[in-house]
């Protein structure tokens, strides 16, 4: 029997995470954790080598001001394949990964060979992580085998790079679809052989479709990850992306991960935020918590 999802209690549970009160020490620790989980992202047609370089600089040195405790660096910088080389060079030795979107991101509406080629090129350019999109057209048409086979082929083309599978939940619309697509993606990516913890992530969105990540949608995906772990002992990672703009929202996600999957997942190894503007709001909160007053927006670099 396919697992089904009922919206009433799902949304009630998702809302309950936002009611946790995160203050003082807990807030500071949580915010630093959030920073370390961010995939700092730029995915625009007008992206330039310069913009990626300054993003990489920010990825390593998040804040120019003085803070007693040094800040962690973000988890990864996420760019288009054509800019992987630039990012790779800028981040050398920093510990920050380079993630590249591929498979004809964001629509995936290209022949499979083109999409596989896309992945291979990004990997050979040095990408540590590949963020692929699933074939939503095939999924919504009920051609699940095709979706699954394609994911498996992409996984096989990743080499040592880790894989994040974007479901684009905004186009799948229903929670049932999200759950089914999560199971399908996890199964496809783990079918070829044993994988290690965090080698495969499922990810909500490209950021190009609204709604992107929401608490209930992410909860459905976390439950799929939990069921897979209970059945196999393998830990799949999770990446909500798009729409998470504030520190407060990000803390709600941490609460949800903690209570749904456990402390084990509270690590950039298994949980990421795909976001472009989140880092600055988190920095603002950290500075406020440290100095007692809010800094101005221009105190932080945009990229």
């Amino acid at each position: 029997m396919l697992p089904s999802v009922d919206s009433v209690m799902l949304e009630q549970r998702a809302q309950s995470f936002a009611k946790r009160s995160i203050k003082n020490e807990s807030k500071m620790q949580g915010l630093r954790l959030v920073l370390s989980m961010i995939d700092l992202t730029t995915l625009e047609g007008k992206d330039s080598a310069e913009k990626v370089k300054s993003l990489c600089k920010k990825a390593v040195h998040l804040y120019e001001g003085e803070l007693a405790e040094p800040l962690p660096h973000v988890a990864a910088v996420c760019v288009y394949p054509s800019l992987v080389k630039v990012a790779k060079k800028a981040l050398e030795g920093s510990g920050v990964n380079v993630a590249s979107v591929a498979t004809g991101f964001p629509s995936g509406q290209y022949p499979i060979d083109v999409r596989i080629g896309d992945v291979k090129k990004a990997v050979s350019a040095g990408a540590d992580e590949i963020d692929m999109v699933i074939n939503r057209g095939a999924f919504l048409a009920g051609n699940y085998k095709k979706v699954k086979d394609e994911i498996a082929r992409v996984k096989n083309s990743c080499g040592n790079a880790h894989l994040k599978i974007i479901l684009e939940t905004g186009e799948l619309e229903t929670y049932d679809h999200v759950r089914f697509a999560s199971d399908l993606a996890i199964e496809a990516a783990t079918e070829a052989g044993k994988i290690s913890d965090g080698e495969v992530f499922i990810k909500t969105s490209t950021g190009k479709v609204s709604p992107a990540a929401t608490l209930p949608v992410t909860l459905v995906m976390l439950e799929a990850i939990r069921d897979f772990y209970d059945a196999t002992g393998v830990r799949i990672g999770m990446k909500p992306a798009g729409g998470i703009k504030t520190a407060k929202q990000a803390l709600h996600y941490l609460v949800m991960v903690k209570e749904t999957l456990g402390d084990e997942w509270l690590s950039p190894h298994l949980f990421r935020f795909g976001a472009s503007s989140l880092a600055n709001d988190v920095l603002r909160q950290i500075v406020k918590q440290t100095t007692g007053h809010y800094p101005a927006g221009y105190d932080f670099s945009e990229a």
Binding site: Q12, K19, R20, K23, H73
Partner: protein, 489 residues
Amino acid sequence: MAEGTNTQSPWDYSDAPDSTHVDIAKKYQLYIGGKFVSPKSRSWFATTNPANEQKLADIASAGKADVNIAVLAAKRALPSWSKLSGCERGKYLFAIARRIQERAREFAILETMDGGKPIKESRDVDIPLAAQHFFYHAGWADKLEYAFPGRAVKPVGVCGQIIPWNFPLLMAAWKLAPALACGNTCVLKPAETTSLTALRLAEVFEEVGLPPGVVNIVTGAGETGAAIVNHPNIQKVAFTGSTEVGKLIMSQTAGSGKSLTLELGGKSANIIFADAAIDQAIEGIVSGIYFNQGHVCCAGSRLFVEEPILDTVIRKLKHRLKSLRVGDPLDKNTDVGAINSKAQLKTIQHYIDVGEDEGATYHSCQTERLPSKGHWCHPCFFTDVQPSHTIAREEIFGPVLSVMSFRTPEEALMRANNTPYGLAAGVWTEKGAKIFDIARQLDAGVIWCNTYNKFDASSPFGGVKESGFGREGGMQGLRPYVKLQGAMS
């Protein structure tokens, strides 16, 4: 992969205690005829905070003479209040609702300190719903003839209302709002362990200028309640509480001409079919039995799970229990607070012992350390429960769940209905036709489908069998508070 977390120990929530800066007087008198008055009985009792066993205040214990004065005050207030136009009565109710909203934080903190329930629940459930009940009935006050078309609607008279300790302010609202909307006057007795919010509600009545005597609040224990029930000038008795006391009240009022509504105990069944959305059903189980420490008359205390998913449900329930935070009710992150009284804790512990003695297997989450003082019970559940076990038959009124299984819908129904109670039930399946089929055959006053413990002022609530009779809330909830006469005159 990326490094850079500076976290050694797992991330956890800091304490987030709400303030306790709510004025609590040393002594609380009776509220009779629009005034706070000392009890003729000259007797007082202490009310304590169940989370730390500290005394909060002394409360007047109303004796027979005090009840008599209160009933007479209500009787005196009746003619003018019942003649007031519905529109005018509605204005009072509306003002009360607004004032509860304005003082919501104060009410929530007080409710939590006096009763032990988590601030999260008093803040998000009890107080907003109490305000909603007054808002809702403010709307009915001038539309009663539309609720009972073609009939002339008259108030019943002086109502004696006795409420329990599990939802103190909310139950006061459930009782008072419809009574006042229909033009009755009231004598209300809160439960002895939780009088404070009802007395604070009396302050609200003063603030909005409710005419003296329309609502009188007499505090005390069972004897005070008995004096209300047996008073000759009481025309209607409304009681929420145990089935045992309900039966007593029923025999005492029999033949007296008093009308009666009872909302009593329950042992409600929560039925989960294999085709349910299991993760959401787990949420339903949790809010069904651990909401308000299980001090809920409609708590889903008997869980019936279709056999193929029994192991999955138990595994997921165990996992879910780990994230329940038990402790200081005033902490905003607390999910399960203190047991309302020492006596109730003893009762619950007795049932847990009996459950183990009779052969059921006990499971609980014991991850959090509990405060050394106060009345605490770990949320728990039993497996290997037989329907004949004591814990599967009797109302425990605590965070104790009995898990049982079934194979066919017929068996589920047979087991669910095999109880003297009939307050509520839950059905979990993603099949619409099955929902209606099962719900139709369940003997229960309230049936939730794919959710549990959802309340709304517009939805009638009440039981069948030994769970009582009469409805509260909704259009149906007006009926016990009106006399209907022939055609409209």
